[in-house]
Every structure is written in C-alpha cells, then in structure tokens.
C-alpha cells in the first residue's frame, strides 16, 4: 500500500510480492544510498553483480558521457562471496525490503554453484546477470543466444529454490526468443535489459574513450529501444518482465508498465538525481490517484493497441 494508503502499489514477481514496482538496477546501488533515501521505501534491493573470483574491474577510464546517456565499462569489480555475506549483506538485513543478489560467472556450472551458495536466509531472489557486455570478449554473453540462455538457466534452476530472475541483453536480434528460452528453462522472471554495447572515440588522441575500448550505453538515450524489447518480451512469455533501460521519471516507469513490465529498475538516473527512485514511487502513486487507478499493477500490459477498422464495403455490394 502506498504512503497515503489510497493506491495499492504492490506487484508480484514470481513468488515474491514487492511493496512497489521500483528497485535499483544492478551496479548502480550501494549502501551509500542510505544517506539519500529511506531504504524501507524501495520495492527491492538489487546488489552489484558478485562473482566467485576476485575481480579488480576494467582499466580506467571506466565511463564516458554522451548526449542523453553514458557508456560504462566498469568490469564488475568483485570482492567475492565471503566478503559479500559477511560485510555487504548485514547492511541490508536491517531493512524490511527483499534483497536480490546479482551474480555472474564464466560458465553455466559456475553460475549454478554461485546460486547454490547464495541460496541462504536473507536473500529473496537471484538475478543472473548473463548479459554484461563488459566482461566477455567483444560483448559476448550467455544472453546473446537462446541455446546458451536455456542451458545456463536450466543449471541455475537446478541449483536454487529461490526466485530466479534472468537479466537479458538488448544486444541480440531476437530478445523475445531468448526470453522464451529463459522461461522454458525455469526462470521466474526476466529483466529486460542490460546496457547497449557501444563505443566512443576521443578526437584529440584518436584513442577509444574507455580503457576497455567498448562499453555499455545507459540512460534516457536507450529508453525507446528497450521499451520496445519489453513490449515484445511481455507478449512472448507468461513470466513477469522487469523493465530496465533509461528510466528517469515516473512517466518513464508508467510507459514501461504499459508496455508489459511488472516492475522497473532504475540505474543511471540515480547518478544524476540520487533520490530518483523514491521520486518515481511518489510519482507512480500520484498518477494512479489522478487517473483513479486503484492498483499500480493494473497498468501492466495496459497499452491500448487498436485494431485498424475493417473498411465497411457492404455498400459496394450491388445486390444489397
């Protein structure tokens, strides 16, 4: 229920009920945001992706801005599983907000063993990041193809009883096909999508702007593309779709829900306005109140697609 108690903001994602549909995108959220917003207001926490191996991350520069967005190649710095359990998790245990842990591994078996190890009290769901463009050569990732997505999802499904979210890439020609593969292999939800593989070159030095050469574009620049992919995926699968791509305002979140998203993730917007997520939650409630929508979940798949009227040709019929 919302702050005013007049709008039901809750949504269901597989077996999990969230108090509202707004959560951070992995990699744009950390304990420091405690100073900016009341963590008990968020729909869920989504951690930075953790890996089993210790990772330093990519060479600098790790970010470059472009009109309407930024390209990042952070490279998933990770301090490993014991650090996560002993140091990161306790920060979130104080809050009454489900903790979703984002994981990555180089192999399907690696994904499965990490999911098994993290299926512990205090973790509400696993988000499998099979789509980071920055840690595989040339942006290759499991989610580029349906077959590899199905294989890794099947291994993950066997390894954990927790709700399993699979984060897809926008960098493939047929995202709905990949979403169907994740659903068939037992995913409880798909997150659509990750960043768009991109590049920028500095005209002074002729060098790539990023230490990793290529990176992932995020921000308002990508919203219309990912919105289209959410629309296509929501038609293709029965499991919930979580929208993620350039959401900065409540209007963006509503657009995603109308396209078929059951919840949304907010990332780059937090870099510009650190309280973006709570502003979006307030805006969702205000919109529902104004439009007399009792439950925010009523927006999901609410896009109105009118069939073109069949032309009435009866008057041409010479008999009648």
């Amino acid at each position: 229920m919302s702050a005013t108690g007049k709008v039901d903001l809750s949504v269901r994602i597989g077996g999990l009920t969230l108090r509202n549909p707004v959560m951070p995108a992995s990699g744009t959220f950390a304990e420091g945001l405690e100073k900016v917003m009341d963590f008990n207001r968020l729909g869920a926490f989504v951690t930075k992706t953790i890996t089993r191996e210790l990772r330093a991350g990519n060479p600098l520069p790790r970010v470059v801005e472009r009109p309407g967005g930024l390209i990042n190649a952070i490279g998933i710095p990770s301090k490993g599983v014991p650090y996560f359990i002993e140091t990161t998790m306790p920060h979130y245990a104080a809050y009454d907000t489900p903790l979703v842990v984002s994981i990555s591994a180089p192999t399907a078996e690696g994904f499965a063993s990490l999911a098994a190890e993290l299926s512990i009290p205090g973790i509400a769901a696993i988000e499998a990041n099979i789509s980071c463009p920055n840690i595989e050569e040339d942006g290759k990732a499991f989610a580029m193809r349906a077959e590899s997505t199905e294989k890794v999802t099947r291994e993950l499904r066997k390894a954990t009883a927790l709700p399993l979210w699979v984060k897809l890439t926008p960098n493939t020609g047929d995202v709905p096909e990949v979403a169907r593969a994740a659903e068939a292999a037992g995913a409880d939800a798909v997150v659509v999508a990750n960043t768009i593989l991109s590049m920028a070159i500095d005209l002074k030095s002729f060098k790539p702007c990023l230490g990793n050469i290529m990176g992932g574009l995020s921000g308002p620049a990508i919203k219309p593309i990912v919105l289209r992919q959410v629309f296509q995926c929501a038609k293709a699968v029965k499991i919930p779709v979580i929208g993620c791509g350039g959401i900065s305002t409540a209007e963006d979140a509503i657009e995603y829900m109308l396209a078929g998203a059951s919840a949304v993730q907010v990332g780059t917007a937090t870099f510009l306005q650190p309280a973006a997520m709570t502003t979006i939650i307030d805006g969702l409630e205000a919109f529902c109140l104004r439009r007399e929508i009792p439950c925010v979940a009523d927006l999901i798949h609410g896009v109105v697609i009118e069939e073109a009227d069949e032309p009435d040709l009866a008057w041409l019929d010479p008999v009648s």
């Binding site: 245990a93 104080a94 205090g122």
Partner: protein, 304 residues
C-alpha cells in the same frame, strides 16, 4: 571549527537494527515499514541560488551560491556534485565534481573555484546572480586537523590550490599556523594566496615562469620548514611530483600527511566504481573510490 570526517551514521544505525531484527526468510515478503525513528536524508540534491560568478584571473572563476544549512556545513576537502546548465550545442550529462573552495554556515553559502575546460564548466560559466544551480553535497571524506598540531604545511598546484583553500580558515580556528607553498605556471595564475594571507598564513609562491617550482626547490623549502619545527603535518593537492617529495620527507621525519586526490567521477556517492585509484595499504595494493573513501587520503597510502 576543525574539519572532521563525515559521519557514517546510516551504516552504524543499520548494524544496530540488524541486531534487533530477526533474519528474513529466504522468500521474504515485503511487509509494513518498520517503526524506528523517522528517517532523514543526509545527502540531498538541492537548488542553490547563484550569488556571484566572476573571473578571478585569466583562468579561474569564483562561484558563490546560497544553499541549505546542511550544504553550508561542508568541511575542507569535501566536494559537491554540480548539475551544470547546458551551453548551446552541448549536453553535459553527468554531474561535475567540484571541490569546496569556501563555506559560510552563517550566511549559508558555499563557494567554488573553477577553470572553464569542458562542456560542464562552460555551462557553469553561463550562470548569473539569481540563477538556480542543482548542487548535491557535501560529499566525501575531507581533511582532518589534529588539535595538537601547532603548524602545518599546505602544498598545492593548479586546481589543487582551490581544494586547499578552506584549510586556511579551519586551521586558524584550530589554533594551527599554516605555511602554504603554492605552485603555478605563472605568478598571475596563483589563486587562494590572499585568502591564506588574510587568515595569517605564510604563503611561498613558486612558479614555472620564475623556475622556482621544480621538486628540488620545493624540497629545499620544505626541509627548511621541518628543520624550523614548522611542520607537524603535510597537506597537499594537485601535483603528483610534489606529493612524492612530501611522501619522502614524511617518511624521513616520521610526519603525518593528507592528500586530496582527483579522479573522473560519475555518481559521486560510491555506487559506480568509476573513480577508483590504487592505494598502498599495509604492503598491499588496494582499490579505493575517490568519491566515497576520499577524496582526502593518508599521504603515505597514495600512489601517483
């Protein structure tokens, strides 16, 4: 008023809550908001009102804004993230980190000193008195002044002079004498000199134009300060070469020091890991976030 590290109240509080709350089940369902004390933001983005935005020399401009009590409580070495206006034909997307140049809690003002170098600072350059500017801060860990220090040395170059500036007032309030060694390409590009002199500091200017800014000459000046008992600690910003000189002397004489580091940033609040640098800590090389773990670090742990 001595500067101190910003409190990490939120994190301490969450650990206390942790002990009083039962662990959640694996498939937790979000329920009622817990009934602890009302939560209050300690980092906010706010609209500040521009009071002044004037050139101070051929390169630097001085921006003064009216702000909230929280923002005006900024400590030396901390910084703000400014959402810059868009100059014609350009779209600075990210906020721009800007060192605190001055803070006045009574007038509720903060000041910045900037050089126009890119789309963001070209946007700042457009600001007129009365305009609104979205500022977020104060952010990061600032300088710390030990009340036991009777005399410190501040060594800065370029934009580093702006970062060191608020130390002058804080040191005076702490009863600490300051010798400032300020380096620039040419004498007319030095900033903060009068600001330090007004607070009673000795300022020694060294410049490339006068061939006095080389590390060997700065080392000679610093050794004299140490020999005369006028250096209980080093404070520095803006030059790797000068930082290395101070690290060497700090080790030789067993003196403490602090350095304000710079790095390209995106979020400014520890989320994105864009601004990491290597530090030398207990024989290991570790990555730290300049925006969150710094920007002020132990002099001996910093790597150029």
């Amino acid at each position: 008023m001595a500067p101190s590290s910003p409190e990490r109240g939120g994190i301490v509080m969450s650990i206390q809550h942790n002990q009083s709350q039962a662990a959640r089940s694996g498939a937790a369902i979000a329920g009622a908001v817990c009934s602890s004390a009302p939560w209050k933001a300690s980092i906010v983005a706010e609209f500040a009102e521009v009071v002044g935005n004037e050139a101070v020399n051929a390169e630097y401009r001085h921006l003064v804004v009216n702000c909230s009590e929280e923002a005006a409580a900024a400590q030396p070495g901390q910084f703000f993230q400014l959402l810059c206006p868009q100059p014609a034909g350009e779209q600075p997307f990210l906020r721009r980190p800007m060192s605190l140049y001055g803070a006045d809690p009574e007038k509720r003002q903060v000041e910045f000193l900037y050089k126009v170098t890119g789309a963001g600072t070209r946007g700042l350059d457009m600001l007129k008195p009365g305009d609104r500017l979205d500022i977020m801060g104060p952010l990061g860990v600032g300088f710390t002044l030990d009340p036991a220090w009777s005399h410190i040395v501040a060594v800065g170059r370029g934009a580093g002079l702006a970062t060191l500036a608020p130390l002058a007032k804080a040191a005076k309030a702490n009863g600490t004498q300051v010798t400032a060694i300020f380096s620039a390409r040419r004498p007319e590009l030095l900033v903060s000199v009068e600001l330090f002199q007004r607070q009673g500091a000795d300022v020694i200017a060294v410049t490339d134009a006068e061939a006095t800014s080389g590390p060997a000459n700065v080392e000679r000046i610093l050794r004299r300060q140490v020999a005369e008992g006028r250096c209980d600690a080093f404070f520095t910003c803006g030059s790797s070469r000068l930082m290395r000189v101070q690290q060497r002397l700090a080790r030789e004489f067993g003196l403490p020091g602090q350095v304000a580091m710079e790095q390209q940033m995106a979020c400014g609040i520890g989320l994105c890991y864009c601004c990491v640098r290597d530090f030398h800590v207990n024989g290991e090389i570790v990555n730290r976030r300049v925006c969150w773990d710094g920007p002020v670090f132990d002099l001996m742990e910093a790597l150029p």
